[in-house]
């Protein structure tokens, strides 16, 4: 401590008074720190959400600025929920969601389990496996389109090489039967590492002494797998499924680049359909109602799921 008078006075002042004299109060700082974030979220998330809700009750078209929108009540909602085409989009989305999550959990968990055997160099290989999920989904969709080209694409060549089929005899993106699977393959390639990382965190959170105790009790490896490993990783796995579920429900960029929703509308996921309504047909009011329905669906499903997850955690 220096012996300037000011410093001695400062040291002698009780801190709560000193703080008031020399700086802003904690409460003021708290609000100054939080305010910009809240303001930004209000301006770019909440205000638009409210606007969307309002628009969803009108027949507004964003490409006709001069026409006054009319208030049409719940007509947009009625039209969407009774439209059979939209149910087809929902089915395509459900197919995509179910199979991507199925394969990602299966492969992701297996990989995590193998990596957790702590072989030499496992962190390097983990990093290499993680690379696809760091890339831009639109760009990934774009170059997989190249790999999927019939005749010239690498994917067709490799399948043909192993099955002996003619590589130009099947079109991953052009055929109604294969296109839904083509998007599942790319999404699985891209996002399996995410599920793997979460599972790995789960496996690493199990302390060694639990296995040691099981070993002393002469529990078989198989039994240890089902009574220790699976239940303890399950909350992590369910979290991974939640994130992949939400992300894939919103899926747009990868699929739009890969198939553009085609052929026909076999891979037209709800987001792609929504984009067509909003930015190609310019049915802004109708698309707004559609957006609200999607948001409520995700939010509702996610809330139910989180409740189930918390139950699993409590056990």
């Amino acid at each position: 401590m220096s012996d300037k008078t000011a410093d001695r006075v400062a040291a002698a002042t009780p801190t709560h008074i000193a703080r008031k004299v020399r700086g802003l109060s904690d409460r003021a700082i708290a609000w100054i720190f939080v305010a910009p974030t809240i303001f930004l979220l209000l301006a770019i998330n909440i205000f638009p959400l409210i606007w969307t809700i309002r628009l969803s009750f009108t027949n507004y078209k964003a490409n006709r600025i001069n026409r006054e929108p009319e208030w049409i009540g719940f007509r947009n909602y009625e039209r969407i929920l009774t439209d059979s085409d939209i149910w087809l989009n929902m089915q395509a989305t459900a197919h995509f969601l179910f199979w991507t999550i199925f394969f990602q959990v299966l492969i992701g968990f297996t990989l995590a389990w193998l990596i957790n055997k702590k072989f030499k160099g496992n962190d390097l290989w983990t990093t290499i496996i993680v690379l696809p999920m760091m890339l831009s989904p639109a760009v990934v969709g774009n170059f997989w389109k190249f790999l999927y080209q019939p005749q010239i694409g690498l994917f067709n060549y490799i399948i043909a090489f192993f099955t002996g089929k003619d590589p130009s005899s099947f079109e991953m993106l052009g055929s109604v039967d294969l296109a839904p699977w083509s998007i599942v393959i790319v999404d699985t390639w891209m996002w399996t590492p995410f599920v793997m990382l979460i599972c790995l965190a789960g496996l690493r959170s199990i302390p060694d002494y639990i296995y040691e105790a099981a070993e002393i009790d002469r529990a078989s490896k198989l039994r240890q797998f089902f009574t220790i490993m699976i239940p303890m990783v399950l909350p992590f796995l369910m979290l991974a499924v939640l994130f992949r579920g939400i992300e894939n429900f919103k899926m747009f960029d990868l699929v739009v680049q890969l198939t553009g929703g085609g052929p026909g509308s076999t891979t037209e996921l709800t987001s792609i359909n929504l984009k067509r309504e909003a930015f190609e047909k310019w049915r802004t009011g109708y698309a707004s109602a559609y957006a609200i329905i999607l948001f409520v669906t995700v939010f509702g499903l996610a809330s139910i799921y989180v409740k189930a997850l918390n139950k699993v955690k409590e056990r």
């Binding site: 040291a11 700086g23 939080v34 496992n122 890339l135 919103k250 987001s271 930015f279 957006a291 995700v298």
Partner: protein, 320 residues
């Protein structure tokens, strides 16, 4: 390992696990390697069957590497008459490559601009979201804020909206405010999307810093604000850095907002790359070159910073 452990996998298990994981890693890398190779092929080699994969070999599976894809990516070209070509010798190596198709380079392509836009918008929004996110995270971590849990959940739930759903009103709002197709508009938008994750991750990192450090600083006569930037910020540096990488990767990779809200001035690279057209269709070598240049920084980042990144992914997810 010196001490014997009954839970340590046997060498055979390790060898088996290692082989399977490495096999998966190699398969998963194939598409990326293929794109890297395609960038150095001529258009004819890129679409040949069977595929060519040996660099510089004269065999049937070999191809001579060329920078044609990269030249096509960065330039615009026009066809010229034989007379013109005869009278004007090629100016440089790039021009020479183009000459074999009776063309000349007339100027740069849009790729450079788009790439620069990606850099500006990526770094701008990352800076802003980390700056605001750190402040908010500190406040949430240290002070009693009414309804803090609800606010945090609300901040997070904004990520559940499909981007297209958000894009409709943003599109209208930006049109009225004159923010459409501007760098500022995109920076603000990406910041708003990123900030929820930033606050969430950073709060976790700041929670881990013992309060005693700041309390000691306060007693030493620091104001709360000084304590924040002289004591807490240096401690949180690693956390801030890894959060920044996440924000940067998101902004770098984003496509949906970019394709809907930008057209020329502020368009980033992801909506641009798929539209590169060559003679008679998509110019695959040029697209592959663009993809390579675009994804390489992210891949290098990932490998260099793997410890922080991998921790960030699991940590961010598991905390939620």
């Amino acid at each position: 390992m010196s001490s014997f452990s009954i839970t340590e996998p046997s060498n055979r298990t390790k060898w088996f696990a290692g082989t399977l994981v490495i096999a998966y890693a190699l398969i998963t890398m194939m598409p990326l390697v293929w794109i890297g190779l395609t960038g150095f092929k001529s258009p004819a080699d890129a679409i040949s069957y069977p595929p060519k994969y040996i660099i510089g070999s004269d065999s049937e599976a070999g191809f001579q590497p060329t920078l044609e894809g990269y030249v096509n990516l960065f330039t615009t070209r026009t066809r010229q008459t034989e007379e013109f070509l005869a009278n004007n010798p090629p100016e440089n190596w790039a021009d020479e490559i183009v000459r074999q198709y009776d063309m000349v380079i007339v100027g740069p392509s849009k790729f450079g601009e788009r790439f620069l836009n990606s850099v500006i918008i990526g770094f701008g929004s990352t800076f802003l979201s980390v700056f605001l996110g750190t402040l908010a995270a500190y406040a949430f971590s240290r002070f009693k804020i009414p309804l803090a849990d609800d606010l945090l959940f609300f901040i997070l739930s904004t990520r559940m909206m499909p981007p297209i759903a958000v894009a409709i009103p943003i599109f209208l709002m930006y049109r009225n405010l004159g923010l459409s197709d501007t760098h500022l508009g995109m920076i603000l938008l990406y910041t708003a999307v990123n900030i929820s994750l930033a606050v969430w991750l950073l709060k976790g990192f700041i929670d881990e810093i013992p309060r005693e450090y700041e309390e000691a600083a306060l007693i030493d006569g620091y104001t709360r604000f000084q304590a924040f930037y002289k004591v807490v910020l240096p401690q949180a540096a690693t956390g801030i850095a890894s959060t920044a990488i996440f924000c940067l990767i998101f902004a770098w990779n984003e496509y949906a907002f970019a394709v809907l809200l930008t057209t020329a001035n502020a368009q980033t690279a992801p909506p641009f790359i798929p539209t590169i057209i060559g003679i008679g269709g998509l110019d695959w070598p040029a697209i592959a070159a663009g993809v390579t240049i675009f994804v390489l920084p992210v891949m290098i980042f990932t490998i260099l910073l793997r410890k922080h990144l991998l921790r960030g992914i699991t940590f961010g997810a598991v905390r939620k």
